[in-house]
């Protein structure tokens, strides 16, 4: 029972927070990639709008995927990537 609860809390947390982190990573990265072919303000706004659809997809997937480890790797990994890109970007430049 307790184990079931723990799995549910992890899953909901991954869907909401992990899903957001993953989407943010996708937005930041896509905005950067698209800026090669678009004016960069256009690249960023397009990427950010698409981010909501990415978030929709991954947060639904978080409820469907049975293996929590996969979720941790993909959504947790995406969140770490977002944190690195947002936190460290100015130093990289």
């Amino acid at each position: 029972m307790a184990r079931q609860w723990s799995r549910t809390v992890q899953r909901v947390g991954l869907a909401a927070a992990g899903g957001y982190g993953f989407s943010l990573a996708a937005v930041v990265l896509l905005g950067w990639l698209l800026s090669a072919v678009l004016p960069r303000s256009e690249a960023v706004v397009l990427a950010a709008m698409l981010g909501f659809l990415v978030y929709l997809g991954v947060s639904l997937w978080a409820f469907a995927e049975q293996r929590l480890l996969t979720l941790w790797l993909v959504l947790g990994g995406g969140s770490v990537a977002a944190w690195l890109m947002v936190g460290l970007a100015p130093e990289v430049a």
Partner: protein
């Protein structure tokens, strides 16, 4: 695999729906009313029940601004539209808080203070910020609910899996449980495109709040990536004050110049930056009345000479973002569409309520009246009929409080808001105490108060329904008619609940 996928979506749909349904209902309800926020303003602010003006006395409006807010760093004049006939002046006070005063468009003189936040000041911001001012907590809660709504729409489609059949199925005379689920599926499927687009566009409006770091990599060579992105994407002009007094050239001449550049269309607002300073400048933003897009077309004039300093028009993708925002804001003129939006919003409210009732009925059979069922029942009553009741009580308070009302340090506008929240709180308490019986009581209360609001409008303003209908004054006549229709619906619900002596049915009851 497919079965477990559907099973996981069923689990998601059930629990995300139950946990966030109350919040979603509040957002949908306030959003539905916001479709007519300006009309609610007219009803709640009788001094602004004016005919839309032919032209605006701009110089007199500026003179009024000099009197009302002589030391303000900026004045923003919202110009009249067909739905809002007054000039509304916004100005930050000494503490930086935005104040507003309504001006008569023909004379430029301030209209009598109405002491209300009304539709555009209370109901509309409630829809997207919940009036939670701590940080941007309200925005983020609404954003979370919005994302959850998108997932619920998709998972709902997976769970119900017969969308075409649902489209043609409504059996109101079957037992309540069946009729309720039919209604949930029907509103869900018919409204699906509308609900999906409205939810997604609502999120996209605040894309800069929800993805505040979107520009981190693309603009990593700038000190402030997001700020630079917004400046490039949305257009900003800045000039610090000179610290010396200066004069303001004729706004009318600047206005006609802007009109000439915008193929005859005027601005939505005129903003004077650093009024009275030698470095003052005037910003004009193109009107949204004739296009879907909430546009960012801007012209800046030098305050002293009237010369054009800066022009801006957004690029295509940013225009797309503003178009999607405009789909949601519906600031353009289109009455049939406005009513369709209203109906679409109500269908969303019905979808949420019937979802709740389905959950309650399924559990009540299994668990009787204890525990979680009881909590959710109280929550549902308070957040559905309770919210509607609070809204109508807000209208009643608006008509009952005298203009000079003030109590315990609160201004009149704040008192109205207090009435709203106290009635809402009372409805939750009533719901928890009475359980499913509370539906009936609150439906009767809604019906009584809604009729009372129509009567009070007639008594306190003289604009009774016969008069407004005869004159074709639709903002007030429409509001009264919707209140009466809502009262009839609420009374019908209450009667049906009495006959059946069972739990609530989910028919629309709006005030």
């Amino acid at each position: 695999m497919v079965a477990s996928w559907r099973e996981s979506m069923r689990w998601q749909h059930t629990w995300v729906g139950v946990v966030l349904g109350a919040l979603l209902f509040a957002i949908f309800w306030m959003g539905t009313l916001s479709v007519f926020d300006k009309e609610i303003d007219r009803w709640m602010m009788p001094a602004t029940r004016l005919a839309p003006p032919e032209s605006v006395a701009l110089q007199s409006a500026v003179a009024s601004a000099r009197q009302v807010a002589p030391d303000s760093p900026r004045w923003r004049f919202m110009l009249p539209t067909s739905r809002a006939p007054q000039v509304r002046l916004y100005h930050p006070d000494a503490d930086g808080r935005l104040q507003s005063v309504d001006l008569d468009p023909r004379t430029g003189r301030p209209l009598p203070e109405q002491g209300t936040l009304a539709g555009s000041g209370f109901i509309f911001p409630f829809h997207f910020s919940l009036h939670l001012k701590a940080g941007q907590l309200g925005y983020w809660l609404v954003g979370l609910a919005g994302m959850a709504m998108l997932t619920l729409l998709v998972s709902g489609l997976v769970v119900h899996r017969k969308p075409i059949r649902d489209l043609f199925t409504f059996r109101p005379h079957k037992r309540l449980g069946r009729a309720n689920l039919d209604l949930h599926n029907l509103t869900g499927v018919v409204g699906l495109p509308f609900h999906f687009i409205m939810t997604l566009s609502g999120l996209i409006i605040f894309v800069n709040i929800y993805f505040p770091d979107a520009a981190a990599l693309a603009y990593d060579d700038t000190a402030d990536p997001q700020g630079t992105f917004l400046e490039e994407g949305l257009g900003r002009f800045n000039r610090p004050p000179a610290g010396e007094p200066g004069s303001l050239a004729s706004l009318d001449i600047m206005l006609s110049r802007a009109r000439a550049e915008w193929s005859g269309e005027g601005p939505a607002f005129i903003r004077v930056w650093h009024p009275g300073d030698a470095a003052s400048y005037v910003e004009m933003r193109r009107s949204n009345q004739n296009m879907v897009r909430i546009n960012r077309d801007q012209i800046y004039f030098d305050g002293g000479t009237g010369e054009v300093l800066y022009r801006f028009e957004a690029k295509p993708l940013m225009k797309t973002q503003r178009f999607i925002a405009g789909l949601h804001f519906i600031q353009f003129e289109h009455w049939p569409l406005r009513w369709l939006y209203f109906g679409g919003g109500l269908s969303g409210c019905v979808m949420i309520v019937t979802g709740f009732i389905f959950w309650l009925q399924a559990r009540r059979k299994r668990h009787g009246r204890q525990g979680a069922v009881r909590v959710v029942e109280g929550l549902t009553v308070g957040s559905v009929t309770g919210l509607i009741l609070a809204t109508v009580a807000f209208f009643i308070a608006n008509r009952l409080l005298p203009l000079e009302a003030r109590w315990a340090g609160y201004e009149r506008a704040a008192l109205e808001v207090w009435v709203f929240f106290l009635v809402w709180l009372g409805a939750f308490v009533h719901g928890w105490l009475q359980g499913s019986n509370a539906w009936r009581g609150q439906c009767w209360a809604i019906a009584g108060l809604a009729v009372g609001a129509v009567a009070l409008n007639a008594v306190t303003t003289g604009d009774h329904l016969l008069k407004t209908l005869a004159e074709g004054y639709w903002p007030v006549a429409g509001m009264d008619l919707v209140l009466l229709a809502g009262a009839a619906l609420a009374a019908w619900c209450a009667r049906r609940l009495t006959q059946r002596q069972t739990a609530g049915s989910g028919e629309v009851d709006f005030g």
